[in-house]
């Protein structure tokens, strides 16, 4: 075990994408990050750079962030071409500076995708994900109408698998890492999570059709299953989800029931 005192601070050069807003042109600007503690998180290192920019009368680098413990999904940008940086299964807020070397130059860019318009600098708009959920990423169960929670046992392997799919934090690293900017991993994780559970079976077909349709409307690209998404995912959501989504979609396309018409429904 080592304490903070016997670790050496490091100096870095940052090349950061600066862009005033969605309409302006952007460019790389170089900043020095000096005397960075290896125990600092990547965002704490950026906080330090920003404090200096502000004191010198400049505009701080904008990036989205909130919980800083890897669960809210707010943070995320490209570090040397990797979504969330070099450490596997880690959001940028949980990436610590001990993973970088003294004197290193680091390139920071926003997540780039047509469906994620840039708001400012490294800050992008991922509300397209909310609209995919809105299209059907739920089980229609009004408050108060639920049966006892133990009324329907769910086999542990199914529950565990559903949990692993549900662990997605909606950060968008999958989209940013995909050469086609596809949202297949995000969408499939939700479709799989709900399709695995007995409660989710009622709306299973419609959900798959609607969510996939919304994904296309938002302008995300097609999936060619290269697996770059899963490799970059901070929650290590498996590529199997995409295979399952494809199956769910095909199945739904065939099985989709026509709504009953005619007769006296009163």
């Amino acid at each position: 075990m080592s304490s903070a005192t016997d670790k050496k601070n490091i100096n870095l050069k940052l090349q950061v994408w600066r862009q005033k807003d969605g309409k302006s042109e952007g460019l790389f600007t170089t900043y020095d990050a000096q005397q960075v503690s290896p125990d600092d998180s990547f965002l704490e290192m950026l906080d330090g750079v920003n404090e200096k920019i502000i004191k010198n009368g400049g505009q701080p680098i904008a990036f989205d962030h909130d919980c800083r413990e890897g669960i809210c999904g707010s943070c995320g940008f490209m570090i040397d071409g990797n979504a969330h940086g070099p450490q596997k299964g880690t959001t940028v807020c949980q990436l610590h500076m001990r993973n970088f070397k003294d004197g290193q130059t680091i390139v920071l860019e926003p997540f780039r995708a047509k469906a994620f318009p840039i708001i400012k600098d490294l800050y992008v708009d991922r509300t397209a994900f909310d609209r995919i959920i809105e299209a059907g990423g739920y089980i229609s169960s009004n408050t108060g109408s639920a049966p006892d929670a133990n009324a329907v046992p769910i086999p542990k392997p199914d529950a565990d698998e559903a949990f692993l799919s549900a662990a997605c934090i909606g950060c968008g690293a999958c989209v940013a890492s995909c050469k086609n900017a596809s949202a297949a991993l995000f969408t499939s994780a939700k479709i799989t999570h709900l399709a695995l559970l007995p409660q989710g079976k009622v709306e299973r077909e419609q959900r798959a059709l609607d969510m996939v349709a919304q994904m296309d409307i938002e302008g995300f690209g097609a999936c060619t299953t290269t697996g770059a998404c899963s490799a970059a995912c901070p929650k290590e959501i498996s590529l199997i989800n995409i295979a399952k989504m494809n199956r769910e979609y095909l199945r739904a396309s065939i099985l989709k029931k026509q709504e009953a018409t005619g007769g006296d429904m009163a």
């Binding site: 413990e69 707010s74 949980q94 909310d130 009004n142 408050t143 133990n150 409660q199």
Partner: protein, 640 residues
């Protein structure tokens, strides 16, 4: 509102077991066809806000849901790790509504309102049903039924969980319910907007002023009722386990418009967080209380012991929670556990001489195997490893208490209505259910209870009983509030001083942590009040906020929030100073017996609710709501 305003808790009459049932029958209903004529604003989309928005949307109200985030799913409830309590008694270990009620009252050190807590325990069981119906993947046993674990302050296993991300899974459930209502047109999502004022017309809450965080535009929104579900104020300490954007701002603006602020000094310092690593640290990370199911807390018996933990033999280790609290052991409640950690570290027993104690899994790994421990806590162990660079399977975790939750908040009556009619407050933002200390796994329970099962009834009752004239955003009250917001914003930008917003926040945090943290004294609090007054003046003359009011300006957002934290900080210290007793998380060194909190039920068996008097220069007025304990006998709280 005059200083002799009488707080009316509106607790229904009758025996405690039937108060809520009778109240639900006695309240007025709004006919289904009329509901769509009413607009409701919900501020905040965490567990309380999202569940309220979803449930009210399902009923047919026209809801506008506001959040400061780009997506409502990012609200800080997402970060809750360990679990949610419910009196299901699935384990057949003696749990019941009565026991959950009792544990929560006792856990809160007899400073919560009995009727609210009983209702919370009653609806706790419905929350789990609701979550499972939504597809929330709670942990299960091999037989397919739900699993439970234990949390602090209870001797039964009543905590439901989804590995270490119970908060995210429950929030995604509530969020998906709300998004379904967005899809059906009953809920309108107002993301990236921050409430900067409450609009009161004819004495009733009729809307809010919000800043559009993307464009900088100051917007007016009218409604028939407003719900605040904007969370707690732990970030007053700067370093806390709260997310960076958590603030008191929405609550504080409502406070300035007449909503009393209750028990601001009741703050929860969580015992198991990763210790501070250095001066640039921006936030602290919690290690879930659930770890204390299998982890043992200890320090070296020798003062100033600098040896690494592996070199400290068993007989030189002090498992102090097991020693002091044999019946609850490592699952002693949070306030008690934190205090003991502080005492021992202050006496020189800190891990390797630092501000930390050990949380050790060696015995459990031997007993259960590394696989079982990984299955239970894998993601927490991984998180610890990432942050500290140390492997907790091989060496004990080092932990220390950190600000985590605030039991204080806006005062509400039994209906969750504040002192401003038509302004309802839910979840951590209100003060009602946890008294002076919250038990683990009870925050998720309360947020969802308020949103799913309380507000849909009590808000309907308000609407059915109240004559609500149509108001337009052209009304003078909206114009006045919007112009106040604009003026305040321009003023912050025009100071152009030399000190950053962050530097003020850090200084405020240090004052609060040192003098209004785990341990408080008359002298320290008095000093803190005068230091904060000076800090406030310095802030408003020397702060540097770059940029302009139009467009996205993250520093301006922070400056607004820090200005409010500074004012709140002063009130917290005043509240702590006046409360001449120790209870739960509020520990006054002058009032203790053998290191345990010593309550003064003669003088302080009440909630204190503060009334804003028009300016930060004027002292706020303290009101009291007497607390009556008719079902749980007032007793010294003991976990020994």
């Amino acid at each position: 509102m005059s200083s002799n305003y009488k707080l009316d808790s509106k607790i229904p009459s009758g025996p405690i077991e039937s108060k809520w049932t009778n109240h639900k029958f006695n309240i007025k209903l709004v006919n289904p066809a009329n509901k769509r004529k009413y607009n409701v604003i919900v501020v905040g989309t965490g567990l309380a806000g999202a569940s309220a928005a979803a449930s009210l949307g399902e009923l047919g109200y026209q809801v506008k849901a506001f959040c400061t985030h780009e997506s409502p799913r990012r609200a800080h409830s997402v970060a809750a790790q360990g679990g949610i309590n419910a009196a299901k008694n699935y384990q057949n270990d003696g749990d019941s509504v009565q026991r959950l009620f009792y544990d929560t009252i006792k856990g809160g050190d007899f400073r919560a309102r009995e009727a609210n807590v009983h209702r919370l325990a009653e609806v706790s069981v419905n929350i789990i049903d609701q979550a499972v119906a939504q597809g929330v993947p709670l942990a299960r046993e091999y037989g397919g039924l739900l699993a439970n674990r234990s949390f602090g302050g209870a001797q039964v296993s009543r905590t439901f969980y989804a590995r270490g991300q119970t908060g995210q899974q429950l929030l995604l459930g509530a969020y998906s319910g709300m998004m379904r209502q967005v899809d059906s047109g009953n809920v309108q999502l107002m993301n990236l907007r921050e409430m900067l004022d409450l609009v009161v017309v004819d004495g009733k809450a009729r809307g809010i002023i919000a800043r559009n965080l993307l464009t900088g535009e100051i917007e007016s929104h009218e409604a028939d009722a407003v719900i605040l579900a904007s969370g707690g104020y732990s970030n007053v300490f700067y370093l806390s386990t709260n997310a960076m954007a958590c603030s008191v701002t929405a609550n504080w603006k409502a406070h300035k418009r007449g909503a009393f602020f209750a028990n601001p000094c009741y703050t929860q310092i969580h015992p198991t967080c990763i210790p501070v690593h250095g001066v640039n640290q921006s936030k602290l990370t919690l290690m879930s209380e659930s770890l204390r199911n299998d982890g043992r807390v200890w320090v070296s018996k020798i003062k100033g012991d600098k040896r690494p933990p592996a070199q400290i033999p068993e007989n030189e280790r002090d498992y102090y929670l097991e020693r002091i609290y044999p019946s609850f052991g490592n699952l002693a409640p949070r306030d008690v556990s934190s205090r003991q950690a502080k005492f021992l570290v202050d006496q020189g027993h800190g891990a390797m001489g630092e501000q930390a104690v050990y949380l050790d899994f060696e015995n459990s790994i031997k007993r259960l195997g590394e696989d079982k421990i990984a299955e239970r806590y894998g993601n927490l162990f991984q998180m610890y490893d990432k942050i500290t660079g140390e492997n907790p399977y091989k060496q004990p975790m080092r932990i220390y208490p950190a600000p985590h939750y605030t039991m204080g908040g806006l005062w509400v009556d039994y209906n969750l209505e504040s002192t401003v009619p038509g302004l309802f407050v839910a979840g951590e933002a209100n003060f009602s259910d946890h008294g002076a200390n919250r038990l683990g796994a009870s925050a998720l329970m309360q947020g969802l209870a308020d949103g799913y099962f309380v507000l849909p009834y009590t808000l309907g009752n308000y609407i059915a009983n109240t004559k609500l004239e149509k108001v337009q955003i052209t009304h003078d009250a909206f114009k006045e509030a919007a112009s106040t917001v604009t003026k305040n914003t321009e003023k912050l930008l025009s100071i152009k001083g030399s000190k950053t917003v962050e530097s003020f926040h850090k200084r405020l945090g240090l004052i609060m942590w040192n003098k209004c943290g785990m341990s408080r004294t008359r002298e320290g609090l008095t000093e803190a009040i005068s230091e904060i007054k000076k800090l406030r003046q310095e802030f408003h003359s020397e702060v540097l906020v770059p940029g302009a009011s139009n467009g996205i300006n993250l520093e301006l957002e922070k400056a607004n929030r820090v200005a409010d934290f500074i004012e709140l900080g002063e009130l917290m210290c005043r509240d702590a100073l006046v409360r001449e007793e120790s209870c739960g998380g509020h520990f006054r060194e002058e009032h203790q017996v053998d290191g345990e909190a010593k309550r003064d039920d003669e003088k302080f068996c009440h909630a204190a609710a503060w009334e804003w008097k028009g300016s930060a220069e004027k002292e706020q007025v303290r009101h009291q709501e007497e607390l009556k304990f008719e079902n749980v006998k007032l007793a010294t709280r003991s976990y020994k």
